[in-house]
């Protein structure tokens, strides 16, 4: 079986940018040729050859979302590995990093193996699991990180909760440095959060919702910058949402500290003022911040302080969302809205298309040491983006098992037309 993707602008930042035809065979990128060159399919249909007419579209290295809650094992009513990966494929993601806060927690190699085994059976987008830093993500004793690494984890994180004990964080960083595995930091000071459920500010005051101050995030960012500086270990900050965090990371990078960070599309798209009618689909952690923070996040993406975009896909059922705001679960789904929301940055001329592909495909790959380069002989993990597809976000079309999005009804432009993983089409628009 061969696939020929014809007529697209092929864009792999730093190596290719131009109209090329790509031939995929045996799961690999078999040939990259100039249009019109002698290649299979140029003279019409051939048996065993699927031709994708990609005129007007952009073919990029497979997008990778390094912050996804797949919920399986344990919370299959929210999402399964299957529905999560279908959502990933539809969103244009050829790979995701699964967060370890499943039930049980992915704090041992058996859970890691289960997730990978399940993903292999499905043959959809790839899963690069992350494991817990501490047993049960309880913040008390280190998990068997090496054992999980042997089983296939690419990073450790206690995502969903901070590692409050600074000394344990220090030791975790030192230990992980020895294993050359990064720690993904969920930066949050729970004492400052103090039971809050949205950004502290005027909107929270008016709604009577207990607020979460910016410092609840940045105080831990600053702590872990200090610990990274001390230990030399790699720290990657998850879902950065405040101007103070962006500024702290900017300065740390200037000093040469070994830190990277991500933000999520909602932090550069919405603010706390968008929270209407106590709709808990606008509730996530960290919370939607102020306009000044939103601008700072965009600025951080533009100047490179923020290395990449990850969705923090956090499926929750209606039971957990259609309730009182302060009792609702934190988190929103993101896999099927991340690409169009991020493309808006290109449409608004904040980022070039190259920079966006860097933040959604290349840099995530570098962080987890995967390769999605478009080059001959490499596994064919590719995303074909239709930049002009204009539509309204409709949660009822989601592949995800959950529909908890604040973006329902928003008009957007751009979508994944085709997602190819290891040479296999896992999603094609209109052929679902």
């Amino acid at each position: 079986m061969q696939i020929l993707i014809k007529g697209a602008r092929v864009l792999d930042p730093g190596s290719i940018d131009g109209q090329k035809d790509i031939l995929i065979q045996d799961g690999l990128i078999h040939a990259i040729v100039d249009p019109g060159a002698e290649s299979p399919g140029v003279n019409g249909p051939e048996p065993g050859l699927e031709v994708i007419d990609a005129g007007g579209m952009i073919l990029v290295p497979g997008l990778i979302d390094i912050h996804v809650h797949l919920r399986e094992p344990g919370q299959e009513y929210k999402e399964t590995i299957e529905t999560g990966l279908q959502a990933a494929a539809r969103g244009g993601f050829t790979a995701v990093c699964s967060m370890p806060n499943t039930v049980p927690v992915n704090d041992n190699s058996q859970v890691t193996q289960f997730i990978l085994q399940r993903a292999r059976e499905l043959g959809l987008s790839r899963v690069y699991p992350t494991g817990a830093i501490t047993r049960g993500s309880k913040g008390q004793t280190l998990a068997e990180i090496y054992d999980m690494q042997q089983a296939g984890i690419v990073a450790v994180t206690d995502d969903g909760r901070p590692l409050e004990n600074s000394n344990l964080m220090r030791r975790a960083l030192e230990y992980c440095k020895g294993l050359d595995i990064p720690i993904f930091v969920h930066a949050e000071d729970m004492e400052l959060v103090d039971g809050g459920s949205m950004n502290e500010g005027q909107t929270a005051t008016f709604l009577g919702i207990k607020g979460i101050p910016n410092a609840a995030e940045s105080i831990m960012v600053v702590r872990d910058i200090a610990l990274s500086e001390m230990t030399g270990a790699r720290v990657h900050f998850c879902h950065i949402s405040t101007r103070e965090s962006v500024e702290a990371i900017r300065k740390a990078k200037k000093r040469g500290v070994n830190v990277t960070c991500e933000t999520a599309p909602h932090y550069f798209t919405l603010t706390d003022e968008d929270i209407k009618d106590y709709n808990a689909n606008f509730k996530m952690n960290p919370p939607l911040r102020s306009e000044a923070d939103r601008q700072a996040v965009i600025e951080g993406l533009v100047d490179g302080t923020i290395d990449l975009i990850a969705s923090d896909h956090a499926p929750h059922s209606v039971v957990e969302k259609d309730v009182e705001f302060d009792r609702a679960a934190f988190g929103i789904v993101g896999l099927e809205t991340s690409l169009p929301l991020s493309l808006k940055l290109v449409q608004d001329k904040k980022l070039t298309m190259e920079a966006l592909v860097d933040k959604m495909a290349k840099t995530p790959a570098r962080i987890i040491k995967a390769s999605n380069d478009i080059k001959q002989g490499n596994p064919a993990d590719l995303t074909l983006i239709d930049p002009d597809d204009t539509y309204v976000i409709d949660p009822s079309t989601f592949k995800s098992r959950s529909r908890n999005t604040p973006f329902a009804g928003m008009k957007v432009r751009g979508s994944a037309f085709l997602t190819v993983v290891a040479g296999k089409i896992v999603y094609q628009r209109g052929k679902e």
Binding site: G208, G211, D326
Partner: protein
């Protein structure tokens, strides 16, 4: 003019004309409570559910009395007697109540936005009797009624509110209401009790108690919650009383004929000294009396007329 609102959820969603209409109606209702037979047939055959998910004595009693004086059938559900303790969601409970065809649901709930949440799901009118730290519109309306009754107006008055603004739904609704009706609202509290951005609601944050009450026409003291003592907002009730308590000396700074208000229950000797609470300017008990009339007015306006313009 016909009252067009289906629900009474907060002060922000009422315009000044609607507020005036509520106050006028309440003033008319007041006389009923003075009669030997304190009952009129206005809402006979209407069903009012008092759905209280938080402890309350005076507010529930006030709503219940108001319903009975208008001849409505009122039913009470409290937290312990409802299926909420069995794990039923608020929306499911509200839908089940709805199935019994009530005309009005009065909801008190510890979560901000709870009344909004059910208002959109039920045909019955929803009256918010206090949701979290968000709103307590009937309290603010009865406060406005009491002030208007004594001062003849609200417009142009200096209203000083002192106490835990951050955790007070009464303060939020009073700030919104009095400023909407043209009063100048000043607030004062330790900075730990002043929520971010509260000025935008229509008030000025005073640097100290003295500035706040200087020349005030109305001083409203909020309850300091003893149950928050273990908290970190202020060190002791003693120190709080020193800095923010209303006593005779401070009262001298206020305007002549100043009105003293308190939504209750009071902590005598903490936010308000006993002599001030019992002084001539105190209208604390009249607030309670007016509360019944005001709630009668709310029931009458949402359930007494024909269909609502915005009913859904």
């Amino acid at each position: 003019m016909r009252f067009a609102k289906k629900d009474i959820l907060d002060i922000e969603s009422l315009d000044p004309l609607e507020i005036s209409m509520i106050l006028d109606t309440a003033q008319g209702m007041k006389e009923i409570s003075e009669r030997p037979v304190k009952k009129v047939p206005t809402l006979r055959g209407k069903t009012i559910v008092l759905f209280f998910q938080e402890p309350s004595t005076r507010t529930r009693l006030s709503f219940d009395t108001a319903a009975k004086r208008l001849s409505a059938d009122s039913l009470s559900i409290s937290k312990s007697s409802s299926s909420i303790v069995k794990g039923e969601t608020l929306i499911d409970t509200a839908k089940n109540l709805e199935a019994m065809k009530p005309d009005v649901i009065v909801l008190r709930h510890p979560s901000s936005g709870a009344a909004h949440l059910i208002a959109g799901r039920v045909k019955a009118s929803v009256i918010n009797a206090g949701d979290g730290i968000h709103a307590h519109p009937s309290q603010a309306l009865l406060d406005m009624m009491s002030v208007r009754e004594k001062k003849g107006k609200i417009d142009g008055l200096k209203i000083s509110i002192i106490g835990d603004i951050a955790h007070s739904r009464v303060a939020r609704s009073d700030i919104a209401g009095f400023s909407k009706m043209g009063a100048q609202v000043f607030i004062c509290a330790p900075p730990t009790m002043i929520p971010m951005g509260i000025e935008k609601m229509g008030c000025t944050v005073s640097p100290n108690m003295e500035t706040c009450i200087e020349g005030a026409d109305v001083i409203m003291m909020l309850r300091i919650q003893k149950e928050r003592q273990g908290n970190i907002l202020f060190p002791t009730e003693r120190e709080y009383a020193t800095l923010f308590g209303l006593n005779r000396n401070r009262l001298g700074l206020a305007g002549k004929d100043v009105l003293i208000m308190h939504p209750g229950p009071m902590n005598r000797g903490v936010e308000i000294s006993s002599d001030v609470a019992d002084s001539g300017g105190s209208i604390i008990l009249e607030q309670v009396t007016n509360g019944v009339a005001l709630r009668m007015a709310l029931f009458y306006l949402v359930a007494g007329g024909g269909r609502h313009a915005d009913s859904h």
